[in-house]
């Protein structure tokens, strides 16, 4: 039951093939049986979840239907949950129980979804490995000697291990797509402003984008529909109407896909080959492939690093040791490094040389993508330069995250929409991910292309053997 996709689970619940209680129990058992190996879930929500599942079964028996009624899901632990501790995987917040729900959480609750666990992440979402979590690293279900990626590594691993029907993560630059790629699941990074940030522990406020991690593209479309939309509590959320993504997955026109060679430089050859093959697949299906020239993604690293660290240094100031029980000495090495760097780049005398310049470069990157999107509908590239790396790879490498995320940082800086889908496996049997980048608020386009690819390949059918 727990291996079902969201689409299948909804179908079965509607047909009453099984109840939400049975489905929820199956997922919880799976977490209990596998998580000692994975450490994907840091807070298991058992009693309350079963109670909610019972309630949703009652609702269904009364003929009430909601988009996600009775569906168990897991949530990255940087989303505030009322009366359930929310740690951001940092000891600073180890005992913090919010009195409010993040808007995403509220929307999911209103849509009938059942929260069964809160997943591990790099502390404060600072990282691309989930190895910097104060609650220990999460391991990759395809090979527990490997990293799941991050920062939504717990959510990605949890879905790859079929611990839940879908998961929620958040991406600042790569934190959904990169772990989705390493764990072989679908990860959708919506346009900045498409999904409310209210209640999400802020990392870099001008970049943070919550989004789904799922087993199929259609599942991602279903979840996005529920969580997207304007939120009066988030001034940066977009008032644009939310389309019905799942009913709009078939592309109605021939699309042009852009490919930029710079996104294949210094990429592992197995990864590059798999993505090239995927591009051929698109061509076979009648898509037009067009060579484009984007800025070398390496420029995005420093630009992203400066903007993100600056915002981090300010966003973490509220944890001043007066409230939340724990002081600033509880910050881990990575958070401390980021606070120091961000504080430095905002200091008088350095502001113009760093932050201000980075803002200007950001505009150039946005313009570069705008130019590309005047010629192509979407851009295809590898999600990460390599497949999953072994545990411990982040040690002694403070820029690990930025290097692992080099291929997703430009589109994150530009606030674009993007998705990861699995397009192959390495000789070691680790998943390889391809990303499809679309313009702002063109989630339909990336979903359509990802769906087209998924419909014509079998990579998503492969399961991690735990």
């Amino acid at each position: 039951m727990n291996t079902l996709t969201l689409t299948e689970a909804i179908e079965n619940l509607k047909n009453k093939s099984f109840s939400s209680v049975e489905l929820t129990n199956a997922c919880i058992s799976r977490i209990q049986n596998t998580d000692s190996k994975l450490n994907a879930v840091i807070t298991l929500i058992k009693e309350q979840a079963i109670e909610n599942a019972e309630k949703s079964d009652v609702k269904r028996s009364k003929g009430i239907d909601l988009p996600l009624l009775g569906i168990p899901y897991v949530l990255k632990d940087n989303f505030s949950t009322q009366n359930i501790r929310t740690t951001a995987s940092s000891n600073v917040l180890a005992n913090f129980i919010p009195p409010y729900n993040a808007t995403v959480v509220q929307k999911l609750e209103d849509a009938g979804a059942i929260l069964i666990g809160k997943t591990n992440l790099d502390a404060w979402a600072h990282g691309s490995s989930t190895e910097t979590s104060d609650f220990g690293p999460t391991k990759n279900p395809w090979n527990v000697g490997y990293l799941p990626g991050g920062s939504s590594g717990g959510s990605a691993a949890s879905i790859a291990a079929n611990q839940a029907i879908f998961a929620i993560g958040s991406e600042t630059a790569g934190s959904i797509r990169q772990p989705a790629s390493w764990c072989g699941v679908v990860g959708l990074k919506p346009t900045y402003g498409r999904v409310s940030r209210f209640g999400v522990v802020a990392m870099a406020s001008s970049l943070d984008s919550p989004g789904p991690l799922t087993k199929t593209v259609k599942d991602a479309a279903l979840v996005l529909k529920v969580i997207a939309g304007h939120d009066p509590k988030d001034a940066t959320s977009s008032p644009l109407l939310v389309p019905d993504y799942a009913n709009n997955l078939q592309n109605k026109k021939k699309m042009t896909i852009g490919v930029s060679e710079d996104y294949f430089n210094s990429v592992d050859s197995q990864v590059a080959n798999a993505v090239y093959k995927a591009i051929e697949e698109f061509e076979k299906k009648g898509m037009l492939i067009k060579k484009i020239k984007l800025f070398d993604p390496k420029y995005a690293i420093s630009d992203y690093t400066i903007i993100q660290r600056a915002e981090v240094s300010s966003n973490l100031a509220r944890y001043d040791g007066i409230r939340y029980g724990n002081g600033r000495d509880m910050f881990g090495e990575e958070a401390k490094r980021r606070i120091m760097l961000g504080t430095f780049t905002l200091s008088s005398g350095y502001y113009d040389a760093y932050y201000n310049k980075a803002v200007k470069v950001r505009t150039e990157i946005i313009n570069d993508f705008n130019k590309a999107f005047s010629e192509v509908d979407a851009i295809v590239a590898p999600t990460a330069p390599t497949a999953a790396l072994p545990l411990g790879a982040t040690k002694e490498n403070s820029m690990f995250g930025e290097l692992a995320d080099v291929l997703v940082e430009p589109s994150s800086i530009a606030g674009l929409s993007g998705i990861n889908v699995t397009c192959g496996f390495t000789s070691l049997g680790l998943p390889i991910g391809m990303q499809i980048i679309g313009p702002q608020f063109k989630e339909e386009v990336v979903l359509q292309l990802a769906h087209l690819f998924e419909q014509n390949t079998l990579f998503h059918k492969q399961q991690a053997k735990l």
Partner: protein, 440 residues
């Protein structure tokens, strides 16, 4: 004095919007239980996001327009980063390089222009309370005030003495009250004053130091603090000492400013654009629309009262002090017109009798004036003829008066009142009599 004071002012005005600047909590924190008017946003909890209060922004712009400022079509909020226990987020949302209004001014009675550098919007902080609980000294934080909209109005260092400062502050307080955007009640901290004072040897030359006096809560104390500082700095300078750059506070009991902290270098607040709030774009149409909400301001009203009603500046000052009184007066003048009740009569009545204008209506005031003035109306011709008649009949009395027996006037007054045979103000009769006696 061989030194010239150079004084600038920073004034914080709390707006009386219903809700706070960035969340839906009530701004009515006064007298409420600590931390009862708070939420995830104004407590700076994880994931709390600021959503700007449209009304507060409009009101800030109104203040900017009323102070003759240039309104920015493009502005934004910034984060001012610093640690203080009453600052929930570790930064204050304020405006740095793009305030809502710039380059305004206010003109004093003597015609001097006080330039206003900027008018910007920010949020208030919480409040620290230092108390003893079970014999232990503790510091407590009340976040009820956290996030209350605050407008900061900064002048150029254009003041030369405490009197100018006081006049400016009274005018500013009057303006925000006329706009009905703040009660500007000083005791409640709705208007907070921070003068910076230094002395120069030559007009136009800024001294190499500046002393700030923080958080003064009355006009009287501002005056005292400035005068105290001028003396204190004068003594130092006369001894060849440049007063250090520092922040001082006003001590009401000692009647002196006391050192709070020495500013060795400027604070680095690491300002950067607030990423949680998109930049704010205005159009000329919006500004024009807002301008229409600006009522006739005190200085313009005063000019009109002078030109239309020919009132004394003393009367005008009292009548325009608050908008309600001025409006009441205007209405009463209109109502009085058809009864030939003059603006001066109405002004006198309002100033002397101090009717409760909250409870009375202008037309009632007119009725009262009419009924009381009936008996007091003097028929000048009749009075003149009566006086002439009495004087004719009492030539001896006139001679006595001229020879210094001035109290004979009381006898003459009695005669006039008897002959006049109507109720009349004796004081007026006496004045007239005196005039006659002195002229003849």
């Amino acid at each position: 004095m061989k030194y010239l004071p150079v004084i600038g002012l920073e004034v914080h005005v709390e707006l009386k919007t219903k809700s706070k600047m960035f969340c839906g909590c009530s701004t009515q924190y006064f007298g409420k239980a600590p931390n009862s008017q708070t939420c995830a946003v104004c407590l700076g909890m994880p994931g709390g996001l600021p959503v700007p209060n449209k009304k507060a922004i409009e009101w800030c712009i109104l203040i900017g327009i009323a102070l003759n400022g240039k309104i920015a079509l493009h502005s934004k909020f910034d984060r001012k980063n610093y640690f203080y226990p009453d600052l929930a987020k570790g930064y204050q949302i304020s405006q740095y390089d793009m305030p809502f209004a710039k380059n305004g001014y206010l003109i004093l009675q003597n015609g001097k222009k006080i330039r206003i550098r900027r008018v910007h919007m920010e949020e208030d902080t919480g409040k620290l309370m230092h108390e003893k609980i079970n014999g232990e000294s503790v510091s407590l934080i009340d976040f009820n005030r956290s996030g209350v909209p605050l407008v900061e109005i900064v002048t150029e260092p254009d003041f030369e003495n405490a009197e100018e400062v006081k006049e400016y502050l009274q005018a500013l307080q009057q303006i925000v009250r006329y706009l009905e955007v703040s009660d500007a009640n000083m005791e409640r901290g709705e208007m907070r004053l921070e003068p910076n004072i230094s002395l120069t040897v030559k007009k136009g030359v800024l001294p190499p130091y500046k002393v700030e006096v923080k958080n003064i809560n009355s006009f009287k104390f501002v005056e005292k603090a400035i005068n105290f500082e001028i003396k204190r700095q004068e003594i130092l300078l006369s001894d060849g000492i440049t007063p250090p750059q520092e922040t001082r506070g006003w001590n009401e009991t000692k009647n002196e400013t006391i050192l709070q902290r020495v500013k060795e270098e400027a604070n680095d607040y690491r300002y950067f654009p607030e990423p949680d709030i998109p930049p704010i774009q205005l159009t000329n149409e919006i500004i024009e629309k807002l301008t229409k909400f600006i009522p006739e301001l005190p200085n313009i009203k005063a000019k009109r009262f002078k030109s239309s009603y020919d009132l004394s500046s003393y009367d005008i000052e009292i009548l325009t002090r608050d908008k309600n009184t001025a409006d009441f007066f205007d209405k009463a003048v209109l109502d009085g017109k058809s009864f030939s009740v003059t603006p001066k009569q109405i002004a006198n009545y309002i100033i002397n009798k101090k009717p409760d204008i909250e409870k009375s209506v202008p037309s009632e005031i007119i009725k009262t004036i009419l009924s009381s003035s009936k008996s007091n109306t003097i028929d000048e011709q009749k009075l003149t003829s009566v006086i002439e008649k009495v004087l004719q009949e009492n030539k001896n009395a006139i001679n006595d008066y001229k020879n210094g027996k001035t109290n004979v006037i009381m006898y003459l007054l009695g005669q006039v009142l008897r002959l006049y045979d109507e109720k009349i103000d004796p004081k007026l009769v006496k004045e007239n009599l005196e005039k006659y006696l002195n002229n003849n």
